[in-house]
């Protein structure tokens, strides 16, 4: 067991963790922050994406003791004062959520993207979320949501009627 102190979504937590505990397990089990999901446990799917000192990482591939003294942001930290964040709002408006299991990780990847590239191109968006699998949406409405969140409204498809 090791004692770690970590700031998650602005709150400080002190916990004893065994060396082999992953950050994902720590967040979900030890802190009860179950917003971050496990889709594979092997770095492939991105459902567990969180920000570690501002950079997106796969929480399933980080050991909890590694985050001692550092800052973690999860989807639970997005909404403030009872209001959805800009990204969450855009996802809602653009119907970028279906089953929702990829959503938390997706939102965190987009958060990282928009901080480093406030006006991303479609290629930037696709590259930023290629590590986040979504089996439901086919990604299109997610891409539209990211465009929207970055203030770009053109290119929205919409259903055509024949």
């Amino acid at each position: 067991m090791m004692r770690i102190t970590v700031t998650v979504n602005g709150q400080v937590y002190e916990r004893d963790v065994p060396g082999h505990r992953t950050l994902l397990h720590f967040l979900r089990q030890d802190l009860g922050l179950t917003g971050s999901k496990e889709g594979c446990g092997a770095g492939e799917c991105g459902a567990c994406t969180v920000l570690l000192d501002g950079h997106s990482v796969n929480a399933c591939l980080v050991l909890a003791p590694e985050v001692d003294g550092r800052c973690v942001e999860t989807v639970e930290g997005q909404a403030k004062d009872g209001k959805l964040s800009t990204i969450q709002d855009a996802f809602n408006r653009n119907h970028a959520v279906q089953c929702g299991f990829c959503t938390s990780g997706m939102v965190m990847s987009v958060q990282d993207l928009l901080v480093r590239t406030p006006k991303p191109s479609d290629d930037d968006i696709k590259e930023a979320i290629e590590g986040n699998f979504c089996r439901c949406t086919g990604y299109l409405q997610i891409i539209e949501a990211v465009r929207d969140a970055s203030g770009r409204t053109e290119g929205k498809g919409g259903l055509k009627h024949a």
């Binding site: 003791p65 930023a128 590590g131």
Partner: protein, 271 residues
């Protein structure tokens, strides 16, 4: 879920080397953990101690100087490399390979050195580092020694490293600045995937080099070709150097064919 082990994060190189010396084969070094943790989860390795190299003082530095070249240390992630100002101008091939490695999140954690020590035949950083004449500086309690990158990887997941040793830094010499290069990687999808076969082409001062991944037990370097050589000659030289197999990702014949396709494509593209 991972099996139980002790976690250590030494703060100095001496401490790191001490931990390694104490635990011998029972310690596993970890940088970004993107290979190590995947392996731990699969039960492929069962170390007693996992030793994080990222906290070691000085291991986070990524430096460039005209005399020493580019020095990549154990905590340097792929994205650290991609974010380094001026790198694309100096080493376009290094950037191309780094850019094709895994997904953005993984690149935030995956290190250059971890990629090399993991020694997978498909390691994306290997082709660039081979072409650019990189050197590996190895440290242990006995001291430091240097090995050229082309001798570092010895087989599938095997390197020259001995228990107790750490790859302290990889140096890309300043003399490689000015080289032009390009990288092509065959994947099953357009999204992130391991290379089924990959080719790097490198042109520098009249010399042409080709490095091929996933087509032999180790990434293969073909050097000593000339920029003026025609495509057929280059392809023939590469084909002679590789020994691809058929596996679930694709067949030997297709790997051979695609090496040719990519060499011809890159020779056209890399002016």
């Amino acid at each position: 879920m991972l099996h139980e082990f002790e976690f250590r994060a030494p703060r100095t190189r001496a401490e790191l080397l001490g931990v390694l010396a104490d635990h011998g084969g029972l310690a596993k070094l970890m940088a970004g953990g993107t290979d190590v943790i995947v392996n731990l989860r699969a039960g492929g390795i069962k170390p007693r101690v996992v030793v994080d190299v990222k906290q070691v003082e000085g291991y986070g530095a990524l430096t460039w100087s005209d005399t020493d070249g580019l020095v990549i240390r154990p905590a340097t992630t792929i994205n650290d490399l991609l974010r380094m100002p001026g790198l694309r101008e100096r080493f376009p091939l290094l950037v191309a390979c780094a850019h094709d490695l895994a997904s953005y999140q993984i690149r935030n954690r995956a290190t250059v050195i971890g990629n090399i020590v993991n020694a997978s035949p498909c390691a994306d950083m290997a082709p660039a580092l081979l072409c650019l004449d990189a050197r590996a500086v190895i440290a242990s309690q006995a001291g430091e020694h240097e090995v050229p990158m082309r001798e570092f990887i010895t087989g599938v997941k095997r390197t020259v490293l001995l228990p107790g040793e750490v790859l302290d830094r990889v140096v890309v010499p300043a003399s490689s600045v000015g080289a032009r290069g390009g990288y092509a990687k065959l994947k099953r999808i357009s999204g992130h995937d391991l290379g089924l076969v990959a080719v790097a082409v490198h042109k520098h001062g009249g010399e042409l080099r080709v490095a091929v991944g996933s087509a032999a037990p180790t990434p293969v370097l073909v050097s000593g070709l000339k920029e003026t050589d025609d495509a057929a000659t280059v392809v023939a030289a590469a084909q002679a150097a590789i020994s691809p197999i058929s596996d679930l990702r694709c067949t030997k014949e297709y790997r051979e064919h695609m090496v040719g396709v990519y060499i011809r494509r890159l020779l056209r593209e890399v002016a």
